[in-house]
Symmetry: C2
Subunit: 153 residues, 2 copies
Amino acid sequence: MFLSNEEKSYLNQTLVIANKSVANGNHPFGALLVYEGKVICTSENKVITTNDITAHAELLLIQMAQKVLNTKQLADSTLYSSTEPCPMCTCAIYWSSIKRVVFATKATRLLKIAGDGFELSSTELIKLAPRDLNFIAEENTVQFDKLHKEFWS
Amino acid sequence: MFLSNEEKSYLNQTLVIANKSVANGNHPFGALLVYEGKVICTSENKVITTNDITAHAELLLIQMAQKVLNTKQLADSTLYSSTEPCPMCTCAIYWSSIKRVVFATKATRLLKIAGDGFELSSTELIKLAPRDLNFIAEENTVQFDKLHKEFWS
């Protein structure tokens, strides 16, 4: 599926956030949530600086978004992530009612680069649940992959 | 696998916590962490009262435990849960380095009772990751299942 220029712009913002995350001493991940054409919140990864392995960008983003949007609004939002969400975040996105996710680096590619993670795509995991959730992978992920290769080497 | 009396006692404590969770206005789940024969921390589910779908008992427990134990100590701890962890919590347990989980009600049983969730056991999910994590299911779960049936009906 091709992304619109607006969607590519949002996705590129997650790369900027992921770079900030590294600059702040954390892992290279960034996420943001868009509702009705507006960025509602953004989140870096904070695993290292908070000493909390649950502090992934997407999980923190959902925790913030729930304070601003109700369930129906979340269902009509799109979550953009610099990397395909791990099963923890995929499941959290499912529980949050968000129904659309756009991401760059695939989980399987990250697994090869970082050496730890799950051999399971978000789409495969969501197929095992009763409600739909649409994961859309950007095809050109060179810059996103480059950040991971630099960080995890 | 048969649980020792000590392990059964810890598991039964998660049922008490799950009941408290309901009494406090939340979903019927409870978890506790044991390290070197001592209960390090306990957690109820807090999804409703905090308006946060990530506030599952196990996720909150890990967030607390990380403040008390280091990674090596977490790896030598056992997490007890009244119900098999969902994929979000299973993955969080994996990232935390905890290597042993004892639970009562199976995820597939909860899915039938509650009508939402993932058709995927914790053990199946963990097989897709490079490090081991041992999930042990208690066989006699009548009281645990009863709480779910009463709550989700």
